[in-house]
Symmetry: C2
Subunit: 222 residues, 2 copies
DNA sequence: GTCTTTATTTAGGTAAGGCTAAATTAGTTT
DNA sequence: AAACTAATTTAGCCTTACCTAAATAAAGAC
């Protein structure tokens, strides 16, 4: 009978998961910035998460934290719920692309396993959320196959958008309006070495994108 | 920019709303029992809720609490969310009748206005939840038109079930199985003065119900 | 009118999860 | 090596929301 984790703990686990690449710990400062919390508070929480039994994080003083196996399982469960919820909110409730994140951030701490299973079923067991991020399942995450940034392409390459990594509502609304969404095919038409702008074509429509945009779009070359 | 109420406060408001009939306050002890919390803790919370600005409850030492206008508005908003969620979980996600309450109790504190509005729309602006309770709207609750208990009927009266007031999962599953749900028509066939059992017919099927069941079913005579 | 019961409140304590300010450590410079 | 800097931790404090045990008040019994 594992006790339910607190809202806050779950947020920390998510953050540690995303900020710690394989082998490398998430630093106190990075976590603090990511969670919008003072560094001192993060230290306190890491100590608490490490002192649980079983511990959820491996914490070494002044060396940041990684997740234990238990912690990673818990983190993936929260991330799964988050991404399933984003997908559900978008596809089944008509939330716009830029609204889903905030709502999912709240709901992910409240939904039951039953709820999770039901929306998974209703959605037909989706593998990716509306941003193109993989939805973990049974503790497994698909490897991020597409890690090429749109900004690195040059004419006349072609690509298909796999994933959009942005939080900012304005940017998301812009991208949605231009249908720069996962799945969209595009061709590079021109590159300006002066400002880094790319001119691309989507469905024949041309548009010029600055690097503030192209850095956030991950593509697969075709 | 009204600050979001805490999970706990919202639960207190709901409880005070349901435990205080018009004019009458909800007592510390009743609240404690209803919320599964020690009476002393309730006192503390009532004092806090009364000392907010604007206050959410009218609290008189040793006389329990009622809701202020602000408090009642907040309570109705939570109750609305709860009942809309129950309806949504039941109708759109296939949750069984006895599962919806627990899930809604968690979700009601997490969903946004946007979410509330969307499920309301998807459901076609329902007026009653799966238990037959009215869904408040814009701060208004429909009066409980049906307040006759099934246990008070005698043969050969006929009635239609309006509302079922039960929390117990076993009872709810039993009722669902026998389709004793809001909307169901029934006829009283016999009454046993010894044990208070009623024999009723639903769709021609006869069944015998003890008062543990019939007390929780509110009907409208036809 | 005093006694007893029951409801309620006060007092004091705990655990989470935040904060700021001050101390410490590690890493770079000079 | 001494000094500066950036990252981190400690110390001390706050709020919320719960707890238990002891004090008090109100209500009914005798």
């Amino acid at each position: 009978m594992k006790k339910k984790l607190s809202h806050a703990s779950e947020d920390y686990l998510k953050a540690i998961y995303t900020l710690s690449a394989d082998g490398f710990s998430a630093s106190t400062n990075n976590l603090a910035a990511h969670l919008n919390i003072a560094p001192a508070s993060v230290t306190g929480m890491l100590q608490r998460l490490a002192s649980l039994s079983p511990p959820l994080v491996n914490y070494r003083k002044r060396h940041g934290a990684t997740l234990t196996d238990t912690g990673e399982k818990a983190a993936l469960k929260v991330i799964r719920r988050h991404r399933l919820l984003e997908t559900y909110l978008h596809k089944s409730l008509g939330f716009s692309w830029d609204e889903v994140h905030a709502e999912a951030c709240e709901l992910e701490h409240a939904v039951s396993d039953r709820f999770e299973a039901r929306i998974d079923e209703v959605l037909g067991h989706p593998t990716h959320d509306p941003h193109g991020d993989p939805i973990p399942n049974l503790g497994l995450v698909m490897p991020q196959e597409a890690d090429i940034r749109l900004s690195t392409l040059r004419p006349p390459q072609k690509a298909i958008i796999q994933r959009v990594d942005a939080e900012d509502g304005k940017l998301l609304r812009y991208l949605e309006e231009k249908s720069l969404l996962p799945g969209t095919k595009l061709e590079i038409r021109a590159f300006s070495p002066i400002d880094g702008n790319l001119t691309i074509a989507v469905d024949g429509k041309k548009m010029v994108l600055g690097s503030a945009v192209t850095c956030h779009i991950f593509i697969e070359e075709i």
